[in-house]
Symmetry: C2
Subunit: 418 residues, 2 copies
């Protein structure tokens, strides 16, 4: 019999149907037993009164995969107003040993994060963990859809590079057919060069940082949502694009997961770095914003503009990567920006240099990255872009305290499995 999903049961009242899924929970009472089956869509309640079926159920430990053929019966007290009665059961998986490392049927996982990560294949089945990964998928789909609507082309670029293109720090080295190579820390130069081909490009892919610190925000591998577009006037065109993209991402998350998402204003408030320093009462020669400053700016944007988002523009050139375009009116500042969400940095972006000679003038060791810089000899239009760290974005949207909670199988200084 064709299997149906838990969420379709109500449409089949009084019919015999088959559902399948995981034994989420059993309650073996004196005269009756209840079985809660979890499938990808939700939960079904199965009522067992037959003694033979009950004996069978006693062997079906939590997380065993079962197929249930039964009658759909109205019961106002059951999930979605129906339950399954007079079931026959069939085990579809191997037997599942007891006890499990932790229980999945409680509203929150009680295991420590480390235990959850050790048993990720189990922990990710918990509805709260699965929901975060669904939000990731939705955010990614929203990112792509927003860019597809504006004629961006998706690209795939090398994750193995011959030289550490952005900086020598925090890079993973590997043995590449007997010589040294590195894992790419970002698709930065590749996406820029592809502006020369398609004008507008994006990539969704893994990036690698040999981050030696064990923090709640850092991963050795994360998913970077990168976009780059040519023929811009300056960084404000990139900020306008990013605003549209972030709105598309939050809408997709709301639509696909039902999670509450912040409203993205049509025009996100923006403050220049120099003004931001004044606003937070910092010294005018501070080279960067401290986390407390970012929180204050978040408060300011909410209070003055009713926005959970705020752009900070014009960061000092000294603190931005060498490919950053300076602010033409005052080259101490840059045509770059950060997007803060609830007082935390969410996205970094800006206008890039586009002339080969400008790269030669500022790259720390241009000869080591000549192979990449050569691409800028062929005419490149003014361009810019941004990169969104998917896991951080989802962590902030869901309120997760640690990016590992929203990552399927995280990698960090202490973990390379499972």
């Amino acid at each position: 019999m064709q299997r149906i999903l838990s969420t379709d049961l109500a449409a089949h009242e009084k019919q015999t149907v088959t559902v399948a899924g995981w034994v989420h929970r059993r309650r073996l009472l004196k005269s009756v037993a209840f079985l809660i089956v979890r499938d990808a869509a939700g939960l079904s309640q199965v009522v067992v009164t037959d003694e033979g079926v009950r004996a069978q159920l006693e062997e079906l430990t939590e997380e065993t995969v079962v197929e249930v053929t039964a009658t759909v019966t109205a019961n106002a007290a059951a999930p979605a107003g129906v339950e399954l009665t007079e079931p026959s059961l069939r085990r579809l998986s191997g037997a599942v040993p007891v006890p499990l490392p932790f229980e999945l049927h409680r509203p929150a996982l009680s295991a420590t994060l480390a235990t959850q990560l050790d048993h990720a294949a189990l922990a990710l089945r918990h509805p709260s963990r699965a929901l975060a990964l669904r939000a990731s998928a939705a955010a990614t789909a929203g990112f792509r859809a927003a860019l597809d609507r504006q004629r961006f082309v998706e690209i795939h670029t090398p994750k193995i590079v011959g030289t550490a293109t952005e900086s020598g720090a925090n890079v993973f080295a590997l043995d590449y057919f007997g010589r040294s190579a590195y894992l790419a820390q970002s698709p930065q130069f590749y996406k820029q060069l592809m502006v020369g081909v398609f004008e507008r490009v994006y990539e969704v892919g893994p990036v690698f940082r040999a981050e030696p610190h064990d923090t709640s925000r850092h991963l050795a591998q994360y998913t970077s949502l990168d976009a780059e577009l040519g023929f811009i006037a300056d960084h404000r065109d990139v900020m306008a694009l990013l605003t549209t993209v972030v709105a598309g991402m939050t809408e997709a998350v709301a639509e696909r997961t039902g999670l509450a998402v912040p409203e993205v204003p049509a025009e996100i408030p923006s403050v220049h770095f120099a003004d931001a320093l004044r606003l937070v009462g910092a010294a005018p020669d501070e080279p960067d914003l401290a986390p407390a400053h970012e929180r204050e700016l978040g408060e300011w944007a909410r209070r003055e503009h009713g926005s959970e988002f705020v752009f900070v523009t014009g960061y000092p050139m000294a603190k931005r990567p060498f490919y950053t375009h300076p602010q033409p009116s005052d080259p101490r500042w840059s045509n770059s920006f950060d997007l803060l969400f609830r007082g935390l940095e969410l996205v970094t972006g800006g206008q890039r240099l586009h002339r080969h000679e400008d790269y030669l003038a500022v790259a720390p060791q241009p000869e080591t990255i000549a192979g990449y810089l050569d691409g800028f000899r062929y005419g490149m239009p003014p361009h810019g872009g941004f990169a969104i760290g998917l896991e951080r974005f989802v962590a902030r949207l869901t309120g997760a305290a640690n990016v590992r909670e929203v990552t399927a199988f995280p990698r960090d200084v202490g973990r390379v499995g499972p």
Copy 2:
């Protein structure tokens, strides 16, 4: 003035407009000069009669980025029936040195593939190379759309793994915070384990093979389109899904690029390995199909079924990876398949083992991959899936002789840059 695309010119006849793009070609005749500007959408012809503008044009070498403000004038002989007259020109990029490594304005690139790859940022601008990458983007979008329609969830899995999960051969080793780790050769186990979370999952991402042979089909990094689904009866459910997915991919390529694509039958003809050996006149104990056999099967499918595609099922267990599910009626054979397209293997897939004890019985060194196999202790439904190599798929669709022609910045035994 707001820039418009070359393809929108005809709608602005007699108006003054701005286009921008790359100097694709110049023809400096005696009394008139022609400038062909290339943007992401196509070509525009600009007619220069003014002497000052002509002097300017003489400095604008091929591949310089220019902005042209001019009048749209009908000319039946020009591309799309219009050309740009009385232009003013503005250079947007740095000056581009001459000569270029090769010319881009001819119908085919004359440079050798090696030269093209050395100057990939330039070569990819050639319309034929760019078209192949647009086809890649379209195929990827078609893959995702077909699976999204069937409630698959997109996942992102680790590319750095603690043990070489599938086999120890052809794996890249890296220094992971002072210990050994490896680049993932496929997301195989991760996508299987995620069936336990979402029932149906897919991933688009890079996979890595330290392939020591320099062939036209192998890359050290390629893009794998992976799907896996639970609650199947056997491999035939996977084949039905794959048929839908391949149809979605070819339709998306046709729609977005205009490339001619093969028709995907609603039911692709299928032949069991044992019957395939008989069909091609091979000995009944042959363990695998030779390339000549695959070509013959392709011919057979076209002749007997009018199909460019054919499934071969039941490959000998001895030749398939250990996670392959045997054929229940005869365990010498497997519930796996290859999809051949025009006589070449395009996709491999099948039903997988789903019981932990079955993995322990067949994995070559189960203790080395215990961290992954542990996930199978928790109930897993019967499941299966497939992996499509994006570059091979696009090479076969476009008729490219070498996968490097359809890869932006390929990596192989001899190449780790640009």
